[in-house]
């Protein structure tokens, strides 16, 4: 079959109803406004999770000095902390926030393909957040089953919030999934079907690729969580026994019979592992663009990067049981899942190499976004490599359920993508608001966050190797193998965490302060090539492109093209407009 061109659709904006060009801020269908709504909500709830983490740290560092943190509260805190951070903060921020903002702009579209659906998606997300928060106030309080919500304990009286708390959590998750699906369908369809002329898939910026693939993963992985949420709600309220074998709680036999707790774990991780890449892939994509822009050099090995994203996406569906090596599932699965898990390291490694090779022979400007981007590479390598420990089944067995795991996933998920979020906000804030973020505050924020988080998590690896179990409210002296030095280290970790958390306030202040006092950015402060910087107005108006959609003539990374007078050539500059012609992909 031969390449057939597709009819031109410059009149795409006919799909907008003209009135909505008057920008509305609340019931807006403008992808940019929705993006900002998503971002603000996600950050707000993220700060709740951050506060929870501080409370947890206070208990771990200085046990029994805060009467408001009783054991059941502690378990409620870690549960909500984990769940909020992973789903309501990172997933929502990367896809709902950056996805919404960047996809149409970077693809040269006027908006998402179905703006109304897009708007509904945000409001349903907000609803999900509210249900989640409501969980704190129902009788029995929020659920304390851990963010993995394993049954039977999740719905038996031994855990906090075993009835209404867990139901709120499950309801909130289901709602979130509905919201995500509405948004996700939009993102995917927009990327596939609504690119501007000349924007071939292989010319898209890697940010779009990352977000696109993450959304696909979401659309295929969330169903598993959705289904298990329904089944657990039934187990809890209707007395069904999907996940519940015959058990006796508090010495009393219960009515359940014949269910399978492992079924839930399989469903959860079939969602859960892709989920971790849902928060990783957008970070991968965005960081690639940050590095390339601020190193004034094309991303190295673009095609390999795209294939790596696809490979990681596909592989992430066949590794889930690496979270279940010690779950009691048939141990023979270990062979398969250890192999697939370690194979994932290869495409990921390629990405890491290409990031570094992008810096190599570059013309590096250490702007604040660049600082965060490079810090990401460092922390991600560290966290990723320890993933290889856990992926290799006999190595995982002693380390599983210890602080080694906690350190792994914080460095790789709790820190790396968060660093990218920050970098991205410093990078695109000028386009969103027309103002630059304050540089000094930015650097303070960077250094304390980068060094501070490493101080938090590096020691945790070694506490884990010693055998310190995770999800412990306190480790009393009666455990022989835990020396006092561990408690000292825990205090140190807590103090570092306090610093890092405090400096986030500087960042928040910066966000607000720069909105008024920040110096004007101009359309393209970073002298970047991608389309969002070429919009006729900054911040872009509804419809993004005035009358004429842009036309793309080159890939997204024409930096420092030999012979070109500028060290960057925007994607929409036609070849004849520059002599001699730049690179064609």
């Amino acid at each position: 079959m031969a390449y057939v061109s597709i009819a031109d659709r410059d009149n795409a904006h006919a799909l907008h109803d003209p009135q909505s060009f008057i920008t509305k801020y609340i019931w807006s269908q403008d992808h940019k406004v929705i993006a900002i709504q998503y971002t603000i909500t996600a950050i707000a709830i993220g700060l709740v999770a951050l506060t929870l983490s501080i409370l947890m740290r206070l208990q771990l560092g200085f046990p029994h000095s805060f009467s408001l943190i009783a054991p059941q509260n502690y378990y409620q805190f870690i549960t909500l902390h984990g769940m909020i951070m992973v789903i309501y903060l990172l997933t929502a921020l990367f896809l709902g926030g950056f996805g919404n903002y960047l996809i149409p702009l970077m693809c040269g579209a006027r908006d998402m393909v179905f703006p109304y659906l897009n708007m509904v998606s945000y409001w349903v997300y907000l609803l999900a957040v509210l249900i989640l928060v409501a969980g704190f106030f129902v009788p029995g309080g929020a659920t304390g089953a851990g963010w993995t919500l394993y049954p039977p304990q999740a719905i038996l009286s031994g855990s906090p919030g075993a009835r209404w708390g867990i139901v709120c959590m499950l309801a909130s998750l289901a709602t979130f999934i509905v919201a995500f699906t509405m948004g996700g369908l939009n993102y995917v369809t927009t990327v596939l079907q609504a690119r501007c002329r000349g924007m071939t898939m292989m010319r898209m910026p890697l940010s779009v690729w990352g977000i696109f693939m993450a959304t696909v993963l979401g659309l295929l992985a969330f169903p598993a969580l959705f289904v298990s949420a329904i089944m657990m709600t039934l187990d809890c309220l209707a007395g069904t026994s999907f996940f519940m074998p015959a058990v006796s709680a508090m010495g009393q036999p219960l009515g359940y019979n014949g269910g399978s707790p492992l079924l839930f774990q399989h469903l959860f991780w079939f969602f859960g592992h892709p989920e971790v890449y849902i928060v990783a892939l957008p970070a991968f994509g965005i960081v690639s663009d940050l590095l390339s822009t601020h190193a004034r050099r094309h991303i190295f090995g673009y095609r390999m990067m795209v294939w790596a994203i696809l490979a990681i996406g596909c592989l992430s569906f066949v590794v889930w049981a690496h979270h279940m090596y010690v779950s009691g599932m048939n141990p023979y699965f270990g062979f398969f899942f250890a192999t697939t898990t370690l194979i994932i390291a290869v495409p990921t490694a390629i990405k890491v190499y290409n990031w570094v090779l992008t810096l190599w022979r570059g013309d590096i400007h250490l702007t604040v976004p660049m600082l965060f981007a490079i810090a990401f590479i460092f922390t991600f390598i560290n966290g990723g490599l320890t993933g290889l420990f856990l992926g290799n089944v006999p190595v995982d067995v002693p380390l599983s359920a210890t602080y080694f795991v906690v350190a792994h996933f914080h460095l790789v998920m709790g820190v790396s993508p968060i660093l990218v979020v920050f970098g991205a906000l410093y990078h695109w804030y000028p386009k969103m608001t027309g103002k630059m973020l304050n540089d000094t505050m930015g650097r303070i924020h960077f250094w304390i966050t980068f060094i501070g988080t490493y101080m938090i998590y590096l020691p945790m690896y070694y506490l884990g190797i010693l055998g310190l179990p995770r999800r412990y409210y306190a480790w009393d002296e009666s455990i022989q193998f835990i020396p006092p030095s561990v408690h000292t280290m825990n205090q140190w970790i807590t103090v570092s965490a306090l610093f890092v958390a405090a400096v986030q306030l500087v960042f928040l202040f910066n966000l607000v302060w720069s909105l008024f006092k920040g110096k004007p950015a101009g359309p393209n402060p970073w002298r970047a090539t991608t389309l969002e910087w070429q919009t006729p107005d900054t911040p872009p108006v509804h419809g993004n492109w005035r009358e004429k959609l842009p036309v793309v003539y080159r890939w997204a990374y024409d930096y420092s093209v030999p012979g070109a007078k500028e060290d960057f050539i925007p994607q929409n500059v036609p070849p004849d407009k520059l002599a001699p012609a730049g690179h064609h992909n």
Binding site: P245, V247, S248, S260, G301, N392, V397, A401
Partner: protein
């Protein structure tokens, strides 16, 4: 520029930390040295990568930092380089995976002739069962679980009769013999983890999971539950003591079989009454307790709890406590039967609510009590499966003293007092005397 040096510093710091860190694997006590080897191998491979990649990155930052007039080099792809890197990486991965899979192959194949022991997990304690002479475990049915049949064994199964039951959380294993650890849970997920053994596995209600090992070092090792199983998860402890064969057999012989356990007759109230005469001097004729003599109310307390405490006094487990000595003296005069009888008699005494003596804020107390309720029950009625005694309608002044004992480590610090240790951990969450009074005030109102 500083960033480059920061990265270099962090790399060096990380490596130093790795070698200087005082927190390393606990000295291994099982045959799974191969696991430690794979861990170390992985450390070396990944360590090299970590250092190499980061130092190269730092170099790039220093070397290619923006200077007036220099321009990035334009080379979108370099197939050769990319393929080389891919191959090297794959080799590195394979170098870690292959040995790993070999070790795992050992893990999944339990050596023939390995002896078997079952670990039973429940909120929030461990107990153990040996198959006995016939080497076959009796079938169980969770619905049969009760204070008299904590293992929920099927009484009609002949295989079960000679099963050896260990109700204490302390397990003994013979050194040098491969043992297959079967895992069973009664209520929720738990885990049986002994760090020096390296291997561990979740316990899943409704199924039997397992792992195997060969203890290689005598000694006493903590067993922890490492699967979140509810509010008291962090207090769920056991202990494995690796003995020489002889010591092990001696210990095993002392443990009752299921048949023996069932054979013990119910306590004889009349005989108990005679024995109780001595007790009544302090605890009162009706077992109502006597503050002046520091003797707590006994009537209405759960029989299994009284019996266990009498045992504890006998074994001197509660020696450190202020008024325990007298009790030790009496308890030591009682044998198994006497204990059963006297407990039976106390069970027959009328249960009246004692006067409240503490002054506290019942409202605040309710808040604190939420934690206690997880084990002692919402109404303070006591729960046998969590080893938690009844609190409601008991002497608050006595509980006050016990809470202080627990906090000061006078009670619950003896290695054999597992449930006491749990209470000690929980008592710490009551910050001050104020909190103690408040919670007791609430308990009085139950």
């Amino acid at each position: 520029m500083i960033l480059a040096y920061a990265v270099i510093a962090l790399v060096i710091g990380t490596v130093l930390f790795h070698f200087l860190s005082p927190w390393q694997f606990t000295p291994i006590a099982s045959n799974w040295t191969a696991m430690d080897d794979t861990v170390n191998l992985t450390f070396w491979v990944t360590g090299v990568v970590f250092v190499a990649v980061n130092l190269f990155m730092a170099y790039c930052i220093v070397r290619y930092l923006h200077r007036k007039g220099n321009k990035a080099q334009y080379e979108p792809e370099n197939k050769k380089l990319e393929w080389w890197l891919t191959i090297v990486t794959s080799v590195g991965i394979a170098a870690m995976l292959a040995p790993g899979l070999l070790v795992w192959a050992k893990f999944v194949t339990v050596p023939t002739g390995a002896s078997e022991v079952e670990v039973v997990g429940q909120q929030w304690n461990f107990s153990y069962r040996f198959p006995g002479k016939d080497g076959v475990f009796g079938t169980t049915n969770i619905r049969l679980a009760s204070p008299d049949n904590p293992f929920a064994l099927d009484p009609n199964d002949p295989n079960g009769q000679d099963d050896v039951l260990v109700t204490s959380a302390e397990l003994h294993l013979p050194i040098g013999k491969p043992v297959k650890i079967l895992l069973r849970a009664k209520d929720v997920l738990h885990q049986f983890a002994v760090p020096p053994f390296r291997v561990k596995m979740d316990m899943v209600p409704g199924m039997v999971t397992y792992f195997w090992l060969t203890p290689t070092r005598t000694g006493s090792f903590d067993a922890l539950c490492e699967q979140l199983c509810g509010t008291a998860h962090f207090t769920m402890r056991g202990r494995v003591i690796v003995d020489t064969e002889a010591d092990f057999q001696a210990w095993l012989a002392k443990q009752p079989t299921y048949a023996q356990a069932r054979a013990v007759p119910a306590g004889d109230v009349a005989a108990g009454q005679a024995t109780y005469a001595v007790c009544s001097a302090c605890h009162g004729a009706q077992g109502e307790g006597n503050p002046q003599l520091n003797a707590p109310k006994l009537a209405g307390q759960a029989g299994w709890y009284l019996a266990r405490q009498l045992q504890n006094f006998k074994l001197g487990i509660r020696d450190k406590e202020q008024y325990a000595q007298q009790m030790d003296a009496f308890a030591s005069t009682l044998d198994e039967t006497a204990i059963r009888n006297v407990v039976a008699f106390i069970g027959s005494l009328p249960d009246a609510q004692p006067p409240a003596t503490v002054a506290g804020n019942s409202e605040k107390g309710r808040g604190h009590y939420e934690t206690c309720a997880y084990c002692h029950g919402g109404a303070g009625q006591g729960v046998w499966s969590t080893n938690a005694p009844r609190l409601s309608h008991m002497n608050d002044w006595y509980m006050k003293r016990q809470l202080e004992n627990f906090k000061q480590g006078l009670r619950g610090s003896h290695p054999q007092d597992f449930s006491g240790a749990q209470m000690a951990a929980m008592a710490k969450t009551l910050m001050d005397d104020k909190a103690i009074d408040d919670v007791l005030k609430h308990i009085d109102s139950l």
